[in-house]
Structures are given as C-alpha cells and as structure tokens.
C-alpha cells in the first residue's frame, strides 16, 4: 500500500467512527501537520490548539474529503492550514517578519532534494518556483507557508500594496504556465 492509499484507507475508516484508525492517522500525520501550525502561528501553545482543532475537524469531516477532489494528504494539510490561518488572523493584525527582497537570492531556496516526500508532482512545484525570480517566489512562499496577506507582504517589504498584488498575480500566472507544461 502506498502512503497515500494508507491515509485514504484510514480516512474511510474514520468516517465510520473507527477510533483506532483515528489514532493511527494521528501517529502518521501529526508531526507534519504540527509543522504547518507552528510555521503559521509561530507560537507553540497556539499551534497546539490549532492542531487539536484540526483533528477534531478531521474526525467529524472524514466522510467529506473525497467530495472536493483533493489527494488525502493535501486535504489534511489544507484543512489544518486554514484553521491555523483563521486563528492567526482572528488574533488581530500582526506585523509579519521583515522581508528585504533585494537580499533574496535563488540559492537560499531549497531544491527538490530537500523534500521529505519527493513525488514527481512535488518536485515540479519546486522546479517551477525556481524558474520565477527569487524575490517573487519568496512572496508566494510567504503567502502559503506563513499565511501573509497582501497588506502584510506590502508592510514587510516596503513595496506598495498594488505593486505587490500585481507582482504576485503575475507570478502565479507564470507558475501556472510552468506547472501545466
């Protein structure tokens, strides 16, 4: 069984109320999902709360994961990230870490070899991010991994909001073109 099939299997058992499968899923995925919470919230207590909330939702909604066409791990990551970001934003506006775009160089960014689970699909995203200018790729990374908004990116970089938005949209367009090749 591939790891993906294993997680899919566990999710269908959880949908039927199997607590043992729930504990197994927790053992298999909590370290990865906790890393998502920690990165977004940057606070251990908050991250622990978010992870709890994520697993409560996984228990209650395991029957729904197939309906939106996500792979099982993507479903778990997306659900957890959304909870962490909601929590992060509800706590009020925060200044995110300063980002000096002039100092971002391509070599700083991890390549596909740094991946724990390197499927072809995943290697492709890293490759396509590398095709973007480094100071644009980092904006996408901040938006996804840290949950930064356009406003936060603008504040962190000192670049005007509209310019940031234009840059990011253009980069997403380029990323899309690379990904479908």
């Amino acid at each position: 069984m591939t790891p993906q099939q294993e997680i899919e299997n566990l999710l269908s058992k959880i949908a039927l109320g199997d607590r043992n499968a729930f504990s197994l899923l927790y053992d298999r995925t909590s370290a990865k999902l906790f890393s998502v919470c920690l990165r977004v919230l940057k606070d251990r207590t908050e991250a622990e709360e978010a992870l709890q909330e994520a697993f409560l939702r996984i228990w209650h909604r395991a029957n729904m994961y197939r309906t939106n066409g996500y792979s099982p791990m993507t479903w778990l990551i997306t659900l957890t990230r959304n909870i962490a970001i909601d929590r992060y934003r509800k706590a009020g506006p925060k200044a995110s870490e300063k980002l000096d775009l002039a100092e971002v160089v391509a070599d700083d960014r991890p390549g596909p070899e740094a991946q724990v689970v390197a499927s072809g699909e995943r290697a492709r995203l890293e490759m396509c991010l590398k095709e973007l200018p480094a100071d644009r790729a980092v904006l996408i990374e901040r938006a996804y991994l840290d949950g930064d908004t356009y406003q936060q990116l603008s504040d962190a970089t000192g670049v005007k909001l509209n310019t940031i938005r234009t840059w990011l949209r253009r980069s997403l367009q380029q990323l899309r073109e690379c990904l479908v090749q």
């Binding site: 927790y26 909590s30 992870l51 709890q52 066409g69 993507t74 938006a143 356009y150 997403l172 367009q173």
Partner: protein, 237 residues
C-alpha cells in the same frame, strides 16, 4: 489569453483567482463572489484542488515537529469523553489476562458479604463479579453483580459511585474478544434486577462486566461511547 504584463488592470484569470483563493489572499467581497461560483462551476473546483495540491508540496520543506502527548490526550477527551486515556481494550486487557486477580476479586466479593444471593436455592450455576474502578485515581466506584444463570436474572448492586448529573452508567458484557453487549442503563443507586437477554450465552465464566459513562439514557450507538468507569471478571460461584 491574458497579457501577463497587464493582470492588475484587466480581469484576473480564473486560474490566478483560484490560486489566490487557496493562498487566502482574496478580500471579503472577492472571497464571497468566488465561493458562490464554486457552488456551480466544476472547472473552478478542479482548479482550486490542483493549486491546493501544488502548494501543499511546500510543506515538505518544513521540519517535522512531533507535538507533545497532551495534544492527543486533549483531542481524545474532547471527542470521546472526560478522562478517557485508553481505548476500551486498553483498559480491559490486564483483566483479561489477570486470572489470579480475578480469583481474588471474587474472593473479596464473597468474603465481604456485600452481595445477597438472589434466592436461597439456585437451580443453575451462579456467577459473581466485583466491579472495581477502571481508573482508581479518577473515580470512586464499585459494584457487585450476581448472575443466577438458572433463573436468568442478573442482580447488580451499586455500592458506591453515581453517574454525574445528566449522565448514565451503562452495563456491558464482554465475552472473550467479542464486542461489548449492552445489558442496559443502571439506576442511579440501589439494586438493579436485569432479565438476562435470551440471545446471550449463560455460561459467562471468565467473561467481563464493564460499566461505562454514557449520555443520559445510555449509548445511542450500541457500543460504549464514554469512558469505562468500572470493570470486573466474572467467575463461577
């Protein structure tokens, strides 16, 4: 179709909107409009799932971090009951293998005279069990059970330990590795006389009685849903 130099001016392509949606970059109004479209436009749903898949690859860069054990305990408590720390069989296995302990429990039950025989003359075998707290720290509860197999009557005396307000104690029979079978909700105090279900075996030597804490009126699922409060091995009297 879209001039990449002009995305800020003209309409944003759907694929870019979908990416912004996944990233969480849409403002409240854009978000509402986009989610309304997701209800009817299947292509857009697929585009969102595709971006979610692509972006999730970035998570592989993050160093995995094992959460502290209290997180899983808190999740189990919130989902399955107040102080459940182990699964049902996690609680019960020491009893299942503890033959000597079972014999001692039976001895205690007889010796302390807590249990009256349900009739001076029994026609068939009589079984007894003394139910002790599953978690001696959390709950002070004990019950005595006498099953007159000849008459098919089970008598359960609650010696101490009431269910909290709005909750009920439910009695279960566990034979070997079979799933627990409910014998009904126990009254708040005093003695319960339970008519033994015909579907159940009457030879219960070595089986277990367990009491779980359930919502008012008992488990709705046919299986224990709350924490196990008391447990005891059944032995031939």
């Amino acid at each position: 179709m879209t001039d990449p130099e002009n995305t800020s001016g003209g309409a944003t392509p759907d694929s870019v909107l979908a990416a912004e949606y996944v990233l969480g970059l849409l403002g409240p109004e854009e978000l509402e409009a986009f989610e309304a479209r997701l209800d009817t436009e299947e292509d857009l749903v697929i585009e969102v799932a595709r971006w979610a898949d692509h972006f999730a690859a970035m998570v592989d860069r993050l160093p995995e971090a094992t959460p502290p054990g209290r997180v899983k305990r808190a999740i189990d408590t919130r989902l399955f009951g107040e102080d459940e720390r182990k699964s049902l069989f996690g609680w019960l296995w020491p009893y299942a293998v503890g033959g000597i302990a079972a014999a001692m429990l039976a001895f205690v039950a007889i010796d302390t005279g807590l249990v009256e025989m349900p009739g001076q003359v029994a026609d068939g075998p009589v079984y007894r069990a003394d139910l002790e707290p599953a978690d001696p720290v959390a709950a002070n509860i004990s019950l005595s059970a006498v099953f007159d197999a000849g008459r098919g009557v089970l008598e359960v005396a609650q010696v101490q330990g009431l269910a909290p307000d709005g909750r009920d104690h439910e009695l279960w029979l566990i034979v070997g590795e079979n799933a627990p079978v409910s014998l009904g909700v126990l009254p708040d105090d005093g003695v319960a006389l339970i008519s033994w279900p015909d579907a159940l075996p009457r030879d219960v030597d070595g089986a277990l009685f367990a009491v779980s804490e359930e919502p008012d009126g008992g488990s709705q699922t046919g299986a224990p849903t709350g924490p196990i409060r008391a447990v005891g091995s059944i032995t031939l009297s």
